[in-house]
Symmetry: C2
């Protein structure tokens, strides 16, 4: 019997050990809609930019092109980050977590990641009984879009 | 008519602007199970440690105690990170993204975040047609647990 690899086979493996990606890809834990959360982190500063969703097609395209492609749940289609705003993300590295249910993308983000024009989507801090804005836009969001859409 | 605040009211607000947390809390976009993804990042190094899920009760407890509490989907109950392994997370800051559907936790992680004994759960890198282990455990995972469980 040929046993298929899953990401769990790496749990006790030493650094440098490898598993075949096509088999691990087939064992990723997708949700009921076929999606997996993907965290985008700026590769050099470590800033967490955003979290979005990918399906297998988005993962494949991102790995093939080096340009990050998500799956837009609101528009029910692939969403090439920056297709409207021009603020594209270039992939430096894609990582998978221990359980195969979350991705971490180390990216080079061109301009702001957030549709509000801010570098990161995580600009709201809970501080006691208020939520405080902790960063200002890099770019006027009106200049990012004609109309509105995903970033 | 009294209008309730949502996180979207901060989109065009300047740094330092605030909204009442109790109202924003009520407008968070939870999934069908009442959960929201929460990314844990080591506050000083910027390392992304893990992604897990919270419900409103877990958010409230985490803010009240300063010790990170998630909701375990596999065990269907609150999961105080480190309750089995001792590898607790102390909250430094909780952030909300622009759409109110993801949390970022800046934390002080005691020991490894990952149940494999590694600092981060994101130790698998996709490299061409293989998935490579890129870090070794800080602690033998057998020493983290009696039996097995969430970290």
């Amino acid at each position: 019997m040929i046993r298929s690899s899953s990401i769990h086979d790496n749990e006790r493996a030493a650094r440098g050990s490898t598993l075949p990606w096509p088999q691990v890809r087939g064992s990723l834990k997708l949700d009921a809609a076929g999606l997996i959360p993907a965290i985008a982190q700026q590769h050099d500063t470590g800033e967490v930019l955003m979290m979005a969703w990918m399906n297998l097609e988005a993962i494949d395209e991102t790995l093939a092109t080096g340009r990050v492609c998500y799956y837009s749940r609101s528009r029910s289609r692939l969403w090439r980050k920056g297709e409207t705003s021009g603020q594209v993300q270039h992939l430096r590295e894609m990582r998978i977590d221990c359980d195969g249910d979350t991705l971490l993308l180390l990216v080079e983000q061109k301009g702001p990641a957030c549709h509000t024009g801010r570098a990161s989507c995580f600009y709201n801090r809970i501080d006691g009984d208020v939520v405080e804005v902790v960063s200002d836009p890099l770019i006027d969001p009106d200049k990012l879009y004609e109309g509105r859409g995903d970033t």
